[in-house]
């Protein structure tokens, strides 16, 4: 019965995708895997510090960085509500959520399925409309913005990383990376672009099309795309959901480094405690409300906290 449903278009394709990606990875030769691993190290190991001097943010200590920017808010939700449907079928996805996302900070949003974590991200990123309250990106109030303005805002101030990579198969890796700037009709900053490309370890693969890249490489292209236009804030929606653990670690490492070393602001939705442990701060959501917050999380602490939700659920 389940098998039949899986095959229909309405079935769960996500299951299938996950089966698929490792399968594709397996086809790659050892060489590629090795490069891959080296790239991952470049992002995570402090030994690569030779590059750091050229990064705009000089400090390497995360604590100092956070302290410097703690006052500046990159995005803010105030009593943000999101309601789907009407009357009997009404579902409150977000119930007066108020939260600040600080500049140069890596925030993870966690919560069980249906907690509203994705909805919160979508509303903050101007992808979905808001039922009540306010959402701001920098100084810009999102509520009441027309589609055109909202699109411009996303284009100029926000970067996106999706679970399913979402690259254009017809464009090369490089063209995918510069896509937001091409849309805006801006010339990319060459030096910066080179730096980003090098950081994510894609230098040799810029002419490849997505179908010629592994899942991890594809997601690195997506990370580069988000970084390349220097947005005020990057929203990542389960960026490691479709990746094996090694590739996932790489991508998360890049995101953390971009925050530490480039002063980038990142907000990431995830359900994976390990992924959340890369963040500076975790915001826990349940039933459309913020229920907890955790600074400097570790995977174990987050897992503990999440278990708490589950047991609470079971008991209630």
């Amino acid at each position: 019965m389940t098998a039949v449903r899986m095959a229909t278009p309405q079935g769960s394709p996500r299951t299938v995708t996950r089966v698929d990606v490792p399968g594709r990875l397996l086809t790659h030769d050892g060489n590629v895997r090795f490069r891959f691993a080296a790239g991952a190290l470049a992002g995570t190991v402090p030994g690569i510090s030779t590059d750091r001097s050229s990064f705009p943010v000089t400090t390497t200590h995360s604590g100092v960085s956070r302290a410097q920017h703690a006052t500046a808010v990159a995005a803010r939700a105030t009593d943000l509500s999101k309601v789907y449907g009407q009357g009997e079928t009404q579902v409150v996805a977000l119930d007066a959520v108020s939260v600040d996302f600080h500049q140069a900070q890596f925030t993870a949003i966690m919560g069980p399925s249906g907690s509203g974590k994705s909805t919160l991200m979508h509303c903050m990123a101007g992808l979905d409309s808001i039922s009540g309250g306010s959402a701001r990106i920098g100084d810009t109030e999102l509520t009441g913005l027309k589609d055109k303005k909202l699109t411009q805002l996303r284009r100029d101030k926000i970067g996106f990383i999706f679970q399913a990579f979402n690259l254009l198969p017809t464009l090369t890796a490089l063209e995918n990376i510069t896509l937001p700037m091409d849309i805006a009709g801006r010339k990319p900053d060459r030096a910066w672009l080179n730096q980003v490309v090098e950081t994510v370890g894609l230098s040799g693969r810029l002419k490849h099309r997505p179908s010629q890249l592994s899942g991890g490489q594809q997601q690195r292209v997506a990370v580069a795309r988000a970084l390349a236009s220097r947005p005020e804030i990057i929203f990542a929606d389960e960026p490691t959901g479709n990746l094996d653990s090694r590739s996932g670690a790489e991508v998360l490492g890049f995101l953390r480094n971009s925050v530490r070393e480039l002063g980038q602001t990142v907000v990431m939705v995830t359900h994976d405690p390990v992924a959340a442990s890369y963040a500076n701060r975790v915001v826990f959501l349940a039933d459309g409300k913020i229920v907890d917050e955790m600074p400097d999380p570790t995977a174990d602490l987050v897992l503990e906290r999440m278990k708490g939700f589950d047991s609470k659920r079971r008991t209630s």
Partner: protein, 854 residues
């Protein structure tokens, strides 16, 4: 399995909509044609039966058997013969009928319609002619009176008591309208006007003095048509004419109508075939896309144990359901089209007889059959491809990445076809024997080439679309994406563009040919006519009034006049029957012809055309082995033989053809001369004043046309414009179907790429940018099809023109740049229109759902 197929059709309703529409249009064309021609056929049959109700036996003048196919000289059906027929046993009543061309002028002096005929009012015993019931006024009884049919009276705004100008045989007449009658049936069918005179006047005005053109006999009660025919035959002197029963006449006419209906039906069905052919591409495209979207589902069927054949069958079953729906709706639409056409046809001057709409079982079966067959056959290849999906694909990737299977095999086949086709076309041109071999070769070559180009379209898409790159770059990222999307699936782009290509190939080819022929004919008029004016009847083929030549000669400023009198003779010594050896002769004024016509002599010259000296066109010369100086025997219409001497051989054309001889030589063998055309030159050439002078000299005869070279060119170009417009209208359907194809492809592509579109929206491409991207893709595909179609059309037009050159040496390849630009614009318009809805859909896509959907 059937349930799965039905479910699939229902699940993909929207995506199958364009396919259904495409098939439906083609089927509607077919069933509309069948319904319309059936309806007309039946109506014609009924009306011809009705029009011969009054006739039991008809007596017509005997056809001349001395020269086959030649109309008899002066009919000798006179009053005496009428009396004999009337007194034959079994005859109740006999009507002597006089027929001749009569043109009625409207109040401004212009001919009403295309001219018409005149006849006589033949009162019966009750003083009335049953064939023409008077609606207003009374029948004509005096020489200055006449009656007119109701339609023409209405068109001319005439009422009883008005004086009406008309053209008959002789000078223009003014007759007083005494009555307006209705035509009971058959007569109105010809669509022309009908004027009635009393019998004596009709004989005088219509050129049958003292005689009749036909005698119709009504049988006494109890006498059969066959018996009457026999008894009349006995009563008549030998060789007085041919007897035919009313039934035979009706059958003959019905047969004639049927033949012309069949021709019309075949022509219309050919165009319907083009539309259906275009539809095939759309169906195949749709099913290919649906199957690639359903790869996993089909693989699952295979995984749980369905055989390959079952998978193919399930796809074909889907096609069957779609085809049935499309066929049935197309049939219904076609019946509607048939009904509309009948109403339109009735209003179009050429009055068509009324009759109930005919929907036969054949129509129903053919429509449904065509709809189903086309759909199922088109889905067959995609169905086979579906069966090749391995079961493991069920566990595999999200979208089985569009198999970019190598196009090598396809390109090789395409190149072979295109090469063979081009070769055949070129061979046909070099062969050019004026016979069917080269024509068949050309047809075959054209087909092969067309197929070859179809097969090669995916290969051609890359370089041709790349040509548009610089322009697209101007549209920024939308242009870049559009271009890459268009190239993404070359097969799909190719099939979509091909659908448009077919229509444009035909449209362009026909335009190029028509323009070439038009120029060719104008060249003929310009090069072979020295005369300033040509005078002929407005309705083609009718003889000029017998007084016309004299009238023209009396006009001021006329320097030379020659009539052209066409007749048939038989060339050769043999007296055998059959049409072999029949040849056209043209009697001209031997003294003036040299200054009026310009013949293209291959041998000899015009010399002095008199007595037995003639010039012969090269075709006739070849057929009979004639050379300059040859003497050859001919049999004239009067049965007398004479020897003629060739003084020159010329290339015949549309203006001059056949054996040209002095009119006096011909006249000595004719009881009555008829002139088809007058060539006139005037001192000072063609001017408006001179033309007016001629028109005035001819008594402002409404049925005559005085044309200078420019008028001839205008008339030719008008004719071709009408012809081309008709073709455009008929091929328009194929273009409409192609538009559906583009809409279909775009809608499918938008659906398939919804995730990408959602991502583009998320990272900041606004709605306008998305719309522009879809529109540009549509424009690229359409222009690609347009360029291919126009290119191929020009090539085929050129090739066919080479063959036409054999029969029309003045044919000239004219590239109608204006038209070609319009066609390309049309292709662009198709692209823009087709993108309207898909672009809107793409722009309105819900970003979040699109990104999540996989």
């Amino acid at each position: 399995m059937f349930r799965t197929a039905l479910r699939n059709v229902l699940a993909h309703k929207a995506r199958l909509l364009m396919t259904v529409l495409a098939v439906m249009l083609g089927v509607a064309f077919v069933s509309g044609t069948l319904v319309y021609t059936d309806t007309l056929s039946t109506a014609f049959r009924n009306s011809s039966q009705k029009s011969y109700d009054d006739i039991d036996v008809a007596l017509n003048p005997q056809a001349s058997d001395t020269v086959p196919g030649v109309q008899p000289e002066n009919p000798r059906l006179d009053a005496k013969l009428l009396d004999t027929v009337r007194r034959a046993p079994g005859a109740a009543f006999a009507t002597g009928i006089v027929n001749g061309p009569t043109g009625i002028a409207d109040k401004s002096g212009k001919l009403i319609g295309q001219g018409g005929s005149g006849s006589n009012y033949f009162p019966g015993k009750d003083g009335k002619d049953a064939r023409y019931p008077m609606k207003e006024g009374a029948a004509p009884t005096r020489g200055d009176q006449f009656a007119l049919d109701q339609d023409t009276a209405e068109k001319g705004g005439y009422h009883v008591g008005d004086t009406v100008r008309m053209s008959v045989d002789g000078p223009v007449r003014e007759q007083k309208l005494t009555g307006i009658f209705t035509t009971g049936g058959g007569q109105g069918m010809s669509g022309g006007s009908l004027a009635l005179f009393d019998t004596k006047t009709a004989q005088k005005l219509l050129g049958v003095p003292g005689g009749f053109s036909e005698i119709d006999v009504k049988a006494a009660p109890g006498t059969s048509q066959a018996a009457l025919k026999q008894s009349v035959g006995k009563a008549l002197p030998r060789d007085s004419g041919t007897l035919t029963t009313g039934k035979e006449l009706a059958d003959d006419q019905a047969e004639g109508n049927k033949t012309s209906m069949d021709t019309m039906r075949t022509a219309l069905l050919a165009f319907a075939g083009v539309s259906l052919f275009v539809g095939i591409f759309i169906i195949a495209n749709t099913f290919t896309m649906l199957i690639s979207q359903r790869t996993k589902e089909l693989a699952l069927l295979r995984a749980v144990g369905a055989s390959r054949r079952q998978v193919t069958r399930s796809v074909l079953l889907e096609a069957l359901v779609v085809g049935t729906i499309a066929g049935a709706s197309g049939m219904v639409a076609g019946i509607g089209i048939g009904a509309v056409l009948r109403t339109l046809g009735g209003n179009d001057g050429a009055a068509l007889p009324d009759g109930p709409l005919q929907v036969t079982a054949t129509t129903v079966l053919v429509s449904l059959g065509v709809g189903i067959a086309v759909t199922v056959l088109s889905a067959w290849l995609p169905g086979r491809r579906a069966a090749k999906i391995p079961p493991v694909a069920a566990m595999n990737s999200v979208h089985a990445a569009a198999t970019t299977k190598s196009l090598v095999v396809r390109n090789t086949i395409g190149a072979l076809f295109a090469g063979a086709g081009t070769a055949a076309v070129l061979v046909a041109i070099s062969l050019d024997d004026g016979k069917n071999t080269s024509r068949y070769m050309m047809g075959l070559g054209g087909m092969l080439l067309l197929v070859g180009v179809f097969v090669l379209t995916p290969l051609l898409s890359r370089p041709l679309i790349a040509l548009g790159g610089p322009v697209l770059r101007g549209f920024g990222i939308s242009g870049l994406l559009a271009r890459q999307n268009a190239l993404r699936n070359p097969r799909r782009t190719a099939a979509t563009a091909s659908a448009l290509m077919i229509g444009l190939t035909l449209i362009t080819g026909m335009t190029v040919i028509a323009k070439g022929v038009e120029t060719g004919i104008n060249n003929v008029a310009a090069s072979s006519l020295k005369a300033d004016y040509s005078i002929a009847m407005s309705s083609e083929g009718q003889p000029l009034p017998s007084t016309a030549e004299k009238q023209v000669k009396g006009a001021a400023g006329v320097s030379a006049v020659s009539p052209m009198r066409k007749d048939m003779v038989r060339v050769g010594a043999g007296a055998g029957a059959g049409s072999k050896g029949a040849s056209m002769v043209v009697g001209v004024d031997g003294k003036t012809f040299g200054s009026l016509g310009n013949l293209d002599f291959t041998k000899g010259s015009l010399g002095s055309l008199h007595g037995d000296r003639v010039v012969v066109d090269s075709g006739t010369a070849r057929d009979h082995g004639l050379k300059t100086g040859s003497r050859f025997p001919v049999t004239f219409p009067d049965g007398k033989k004479a020897d003629l001497t060739v003084s020159g051989v010329y290339n015949g054309n549309q203006m001059f053809d056949g054996i040209i001889l002095d009119k006096d030589t011909l006249a000595s063998h004719q009881k009555r001369t008829t002139t088809q055309q007058l060539l006139v030159s005037m001192d000072g050439g063609a001017t408006d004043a001179h033309k007016n002078e001629l028109v005035k000299a001819l008594g402002k005869n409404p049925a005559l046309t005085v044309s200078d070279k420019q008028d001839i060119a205008d008339a030719v170009s008008k004719l071709f414009t009408i012809l081309l417009n008709m073709l455009y209208g008929l091929l328009g359907m194929a273009v409409v179907v192609a538009v559906l194809g583009v809409v279909n492809t775009l809608a499918m592509s938008v659906f398939e790429r919804s995730q990408e579109i959602g991502m583009l929206r998320a990272i900041g491409l606004d709605r306008l940018g998305i719309k522009r991207m879809v529109r540009l893709e549509s424009l690229i595909i359409s222009l690609f099809g347009g360029v291919l179609g126009i290119g191929l059309g020009v090539f085929l037009g050129w090739a066919v023109g080479k063959l036409i050159e054999g029969g029309l040496p003045t044919y000239e390849l004219v590239l109608p740049w204006g038209e070609l630009a319009v066609f390309l614009g049309l292709a662009g318009l198709v692209g823009v229109l087709a993108a309207l809805w898909p672009a809107l859909r793409a722009a309105r896509l819900n970003m979040l759902e699109a990104i999540k959907a996989e």
